[in-house]
């Protein structure tokens, strides 16, 4: 459920305390994100306001049939240690063999994020001891990653009305391919650790975002946009609740004109909503710490979603030297474009950047622009449509089946349908009111057979899921609009006749 409820444009204001568990000792003295991205905290010292700086490191699990360097299957929630090849268990003598699909996913993602794709990238070993890292090192791309220097545009609302939206850009430093680790399960009562290597060796794309964000809402909006892009590309399923998208936030604060402050790394954030909270909490904590004369330690902190705060943790990797070295078992990864593609090369053996580029699907931003143009809806509405999984399809199906103007129909979808779904924590796909039923209902409204108040009543009935059509409900509840003049006059007459005293009083007044 973590990923739900994040739909729509980010409509919470960049402000602390909004809806979240209140953090008792922390004051309400706030910084807010304004449209220009600056922070406006009211420092009690009267100095220039603090500027928060937020950078993100995002690990997206690549959606592929097999792992990055082995043939084992990739599957969520399989029985422990059932998807482990000899290589994944680091049996001596095994060697990595790069999965072409993972390379293509990274290239697609890099192109979608406006990166330059390195025609030659390298793999490195990063060493540390941990029980769920069987080889004692992770194969990653530390020196020359597959994609660099990109950017991601995202939009967010700057007030609750969803009418003032701003678009911002965060620079993408790099995308690197690397192996996922296994999972450790600590059994404290029996003081043992159980290891599941199913995840060990699954392909990851680490997306490094430059510290261009200023608050939790910006970070959340950027991650949501990235999530949509990955899902559109199919390069990652990017479901945070299943660990397919993991976000670490680097947070610091400083005075304008001064160098960046000491940063902390916030981990263990498992939903986009919590990302916003964790970042804002951490910014506030650092400001208070500094204003009280304290210092910020370069440490790793975890977000506790129950308490709504970040707490220092002992980093599992510690502050250690990773002793990077080139991975000697993998030759440099060479990618080609149409120009450099050797004529005699087996096409199964090469990855052609141009070929992938030509086949990129419409990205969310393009989809939104098309929706605005095609249906004449407001840009902010296009955000909600695209951001909410399945909503665009729902909307388009309704539009196809109704005479109502799309710009009018969208109100019913966004205000009535979506808010109902949200209240009941349902996804669009789980909606009991199908696009067909809603279209039916809107047609009744459009043909003026019912009033809009009646339509709302019908919709409420439809949510019960009793299998009745809107027309049946209208008839059953006698909600039709009366179109016959004579009949209306008779009703009015009957009302007047039955209420003589009241009529007289009204006339007298």
């Amino acid at each position: 459920a973590a990923a739900r409820g994040c739909g729509g444009v980010w409509h919470q204001v960049c402000q602390r305390g909004a809806g979240g568990p209140s953090l008792a000792p922390r004051g309400q003295r706030a910084f807010t994100c304004n449209a220009r991205g600056g922070a406006v905290p009211a420092g009690k010292s009267g100095l220039a306001p603090w500027v928060p700086v937020v950078g993100l490191e995002i690990h997206a699990q690549i959606s592929s049939n097999s792992k990055l360097f082995s043939g084992s299957q990739v599957q969520f929630a399989a029985p422990p240690n059932s998807l482990v090849s000899f290589f994944d268990a680091s049996l001596p003598g095994t060697l990595p063999v790069l999965n072409r699909r993972c390379v293509e996913a990274a290239v697609m993602t890099g192109l979608a994020l406006n990166c330059s794709i390195n025609k030659k990238s390298l793999f490195d070993r990063k060493h540390y001891y941990y029980a769920d890292l069987p080889a004692g090192y992770q194969i990653t791309q530390q020196r020359v990653p597959i994609a660099v220097n990109g950017s991601l545009s995202y939009s967010l609302c700057i007030d609750n009305k969803m009418s003032r939206m701003v678009t911002k850009t965060v620079r993408i430093k790099q995308i690197q391919l690397e192996q996922d680790s296994g999972k450790s399960l600590h059994d404290d009562t029996r003081s043992q650790t159980l290891i599941d290597l199913n995840r060990a060796g699954v392909g990851l794309m680490e997306v490094v975002m430059e510290p261009d964000m200023r608050c939790g809402e910006e970070a959340a909006a950027a991650v949501r946009e990235l999530q949509l892009i990955l899902q559109t590309l199919g390069s990652s399923q990017a479901v945070m609740a299943e660990g397919q998208l993991r976000v670490d936030a680097n947070v610091s604060v400083h005075r304008p004109g001064e160098p960046y402050g000491v940063r902390t790394e916030v981990k263990n954030i498992n939903s986009i909503r919590f990302l916003a909270k964790a970042v804002d909490y951490e910014i506030q904590r650092q400001i208070e710490e500094l204003e009280n004369g304290g210092t910020i330690l370069n440490e790793t902190r975890a977000f506790d979603s129950k308490l709504g705060c970040t707490i220092p943790i002992r980093d599992k990797e510690g502050k250690q030297d990773y002793r990077f070295m080139p991975e000697p078992n993998l030759p440099p990864l060479i990618l080609y474009n149409a120009k450099s593609l050797p004529a005699n090369m087996n096409h199964q053996q090469v990855v052609n950047i141009d070929w992938i580029h030509e086949r990129l699907p419409d990205l969310p931003s393009v989809k939104r622009a098309k929706l605005v143009e095609q249906y004449g809806i407001l840009p902010e509405h296009s955000f909600t449509l695209v951001n909410e999984d399945g909503l665009t399809e729902f909307f388009e199906n309704v539009v196809k089946q109704t005479q109502m103007k799309p710009s009018k129909a969208i109100g019913w979808i966004l205000n009535d349908l979506l808010s109902y779904l949200k209240q009941h924590s349902l996804t669009v796909k789980e909606s009991l009111v199908s696009s067909f039923l809603l279209a039916d209902l809107l047609n009744l409204l459009e043909k003026k057979e019912i009033s809009s108040t009646a339509a709302k009543q019908v919709l409420a009935e439809l949510w019960k899921g009793e299998g009745k059509t809107p027309l049946e409900i209208v008839k059953e509840k006698k909600l039709e609009l009366i179109q016959n003049q004579e009949e209306l006059e008779q009703i009015c007459q009957a009302v007047i006749d039955g209420q003589e005293n009241e009529v007289i009083m009204m006339v007298l007044e």
Partner: protein
């Protein structure tokens, strides 16, 4: 009658029914038993070997043999994975470890009907140059028991035990070299990272081929230095090395560093004219510590080529002298990384220490590795530290490039093959060898072989002569990348000229006269 390889002759004998695969296998097994004192084998897979031999015999009877190697008994160094047969690397860490898969090279040999007799002894994780530093004890050089050596080595004093005179095999593939040299198998796999196949081949008087890096799959070879390791081939003659090479070489989808091109197995021509050949004599291989005896054998070989009409020139590989220190950095760095997986969790030795995961790791590694391995891990990690990486690792990589470029230049100048000594001296007695520590010894012993690994070039040891003490002296030929055919052709010509004497193993003869006679006749008929 043209000179043919041993394996071809045995193969013909098998085909004609003069000997059966089972008989051959049994004779080898019996020889292994009678030469047990050599300590060449860690594991003898008697049962599976006999079963494989039986299968082979059936194929021969049906006329459906799989190729030249069908029914040929072979041995494999104990750092190659063999499904169902223990793979120990001569380390406590892997004692009792049974791999679930075969190394690609092992699988290829089995697929061609070869009979796997067992796993041969080595220095722990192939780190050494004597085959003296494994948990199963040192390997003894078969030549220690030869009539040639015994005749010449007189105990210095009466108090000195006759026993202590035995000489080392060199290493780290000493078990494989001893196994081939003592007739217990027809061919053996070794591995070669800095000379580990060529060095023991030289000391044991056998052919030792280190192919070009990337020609043979490393999948299933437990690595020492991934960027230099190559499976090595030990045989009693050059023709056999070509046969085994032909059965192993080529692309392996499981090893991304193997060449993509198909490899075509070749038969070696009998070279009659070497006048078009250009032999380079690298002056830097006249290294400090090179024995005058070896120098004489080397010069004689150069003369041999010259007299036969080949162009023999002195060449220079100026950066070779930095190779020892460069190798030390690169080797230990990769060792530190490769050994990280041995933590006692997934496989291998696990200490009883259970205070914490970290203490378990530490105790497991202390108990599982010997001092040599631990020492290399320690220095490798030091070189990889952030503050040292540029100064050591990067610098060593640059030097490696310079060393490799030296070869490119020499070969570019028209030289076909380089001729060098393989070792500084003949094999030394064990008691003398262990006076110095592993690091010092490896440093000295690898000096002439290592540069070929740095450059990834093919190189071969060919037995050339016996020393004054009656021990083998070998010479090394280094060829161009992927030019194994040319290299082996020249090596074969040389082999034919020098007529290296047959080892006269009296003890073996006593034990198993039959087999010895058979193989003797097979190899020199």
């Amino acid at each position: 009658r043209p000179q043919r390889g041993l394996s071809l002759q045995v193969s013909a004998a098998l085909k004609e029914g003069r000997v059966t695969a089972t008989e051959l296998c049994q004779r080898c097994l019996s020889l292994i038993r009678s030469t047990k004192f050599l300590n060449a084998y860690i594991t003898v897979a008697e049962e599976t070997a006999l079963k494989q031999a039986e299968e082979s015999e059936k194929r021969y009877r049906a006329g459906q043999q799989l190729g030249v190697l069908d029914g040929i008994p072979i041995a494999v160094k104990d750092n190659f994975n063999t499904a169902g047969i223990e793979t120990t690397c001569a380390s406590n860490m892997l004692k009792g470890y049974i791999s679930p898969y075969n190394a690609t090279v092992v699988q290829k040999l089995l697929d061609q009907g070869a009979v796997l007799l067992g796993k041969t002894n080595l220095d722990e994780f192939a780190m050494g140059s004597g085959s003296t530093d494994g948990v199963f004890g040192p390997v003894r050089n078969p030549w220690s028991y030869s009539r040639q050596y015994k005749k010449k080595s007189v105990p210095k004093s009466h108090s000195e035990d006759k026993e202590s005179n035995w000489v080392i095999t060199g290493g780290s593939s000493g078990g494989s070299a001893a196994a081939v040299s003592s007739f217990t198998c027809f061919a053996a796999l070794g591995s070669d990272t800095g000379g580990s196949t060529r060095n023991p081949a030289a000391h044991c008087g056998v052919v030792g081929l280190k192919p070009t890096y990337g020609l043979i799959s490393r999948h299933g070879l437990i690595p020492l230095v991934n960027s230099m390791d190559v499976p090595g081939i030990l045989t009693r003659c050059v023709d056999d090395a070509a046969v085994v090479l032909g059965s192993l070489a080529g692309h392996d989808p499981k090893d991304s560093t193997t060449i993509q091109d198909d490899f075509k197995p070749f038969e070696l021509p009998n070279l009659t004219d070497v006048r078009k050949l250009s032999i380079g004599i690298p002056k830097e291989y006249h290294a400090p510590g090179l024995s005058s005896e070896i120098l004489a054998v080397w010069s004689k070989a150069a003369d041999l080529f010259e007299n036969a009409g080949a162009k023999v020139t002195e060449v220079s590989l100026p950066h070779t002298r930095y190779s020892i220190v460069c190798y030390h950095v690169l080797c230990t760095a990769e060792v530190a990384s490769n050994m990280a997986r041995f933590d006692g969790l997934e496989y291998g030795h696990r200490s009883d220490m259970n205070k914490s995961t970290e203490s378990m790791y530490a105790a497991t590694r202390r108990e599982g590795f010997n001092d040599v391995v631990r020492g290399r891990i320690l220095s490798g990690n030091y070189f990889l530290l952030k503050q040292n990486y540029e100064n050591y690792f990067i610098k060593a990589q640059k030097v490696r490039r310079l060393i490799a470029n030296d070869f490119v230049k020499v070969f570019g100048s028209g030289v076909d093959i380089l001729l060098t000594p393989t070792t500084l001296s003949d094999a030394v007695p064990y008691m003398e060898f262990i006076k110095e520590d592993n690091r010092t010894r490896s440093t000295q012993d690898d000096i002439l072989t290592q540069a070929a690994n740095m450059a990834g070039l093919p190189a071969i040891n060919v037995p050339a002569a016996l020393s004054e003490r009656g021990l083998p002296v070998g010479l090394q030929f280094i060829g161009r990348s992927f030019q194994e055919k040319q290299l082996l052709t020249v090596a074969k010509w040389f082999e034919k000229q020098v007529k290296f004497p047959m080892i006269q193993l009296e003890e073996v003869k006593r034990h198993d006269n039959d087999v010895f006679q058979h193989q003797k006749s097979a190899s020199f008929s």
